[in-house]
Symmetry: C2
Subunit: 146 residues, 2 copies
């Protein structure tokens, strides 16, 4: 079991329902501990979790592991990675990485000390071949052969 | 008094509160007659009004007549013009023409028969000089002198 911390943030626009935005976040990260604040009609949910199981299930059931892997590697740095989830898709229990200019759900995955962020990314979104998850070592061997 | 018909439409996204979206529309067009429908989590307000007084007041008090005029002329055709209002701004009783890719408030102003759409636009958003509304005939004379 890899040890991570996930930071989650989402704005709540004036015409949005804060509880619907909360539900959208909890659809993807059910165990997230969220706090709400508001300033000048603009609200914000902020929180964290250590649990990414539902997110992992969803990217598997939606068969978007390769997209997820690409997104997770895109903004990877030394010990973290970050991405946005489309809020409207999340509301209907779907993972969608399409950027929402009005602020989707910001997710930052941080590797706790001693953990390797790439290993965590491999665990969350392993590579696939023909729709089947492959061991990445295997893939390297295949590539060497090719 | 010019005779017009204004058609108003606005989507309601899954995380939005339909009554907040309705309030946003009514902040700009208080007399609009609105109907709500919903399909697959996406809602829609649709309606019409003949009254643009609040809209006229707002573009005057916000001192954005020149912007409004430009916007109103941009999509002008034979007997109508159309534009979008930012929903979040409308919720706080402000007119803002910044396009909202997730669907602002669509407004179509139609000149009823016998009415000239350009005359209607001039009435809604007259030209200004140094912040003061001018008669457009005057402006033409000034231009001729210049």
């Amino acid at each position: 079991m890899v040890i991570i911390k996930v930071i989650i943030k989402s704005k709540v626009k004036p015409t949005e329902d804060k509880y619907k935005v909360k539900k959208a976040i909890l659809n993807i990260f059910p165990k997230a501990n969220l706090r709400y604040s508001e300033k000048d009609f603009y609200g914000k949910w902020e929180g964290e979790t250590k649990d990414v199981e539902r997110f992992k299930e969803l990217i598997r059931s939606q068969a978007i592991l390769d997209t997820a892997r690409m997104i997770l590697e895109e903004k990877m740095d030394e010990n973290s990675t970050r991405f946005y989830l489309n809020k409207q898709a999340a509301f209907v229990k779907a993972v969608n990485f399409d950027i929402d200019v009005h602020g989707g759900i910001y997710v930052k995955i941080i590797a706790e000390k001693g953990e390797d962020i790439l290993k965590i990314i491999k665990d969350i979104a392993p590579r696939t071949k023909g729709g089947v998850i492959i061991e990445e070592e295997e893939e390297e061997i295949i590539e060497e052969k090719g």
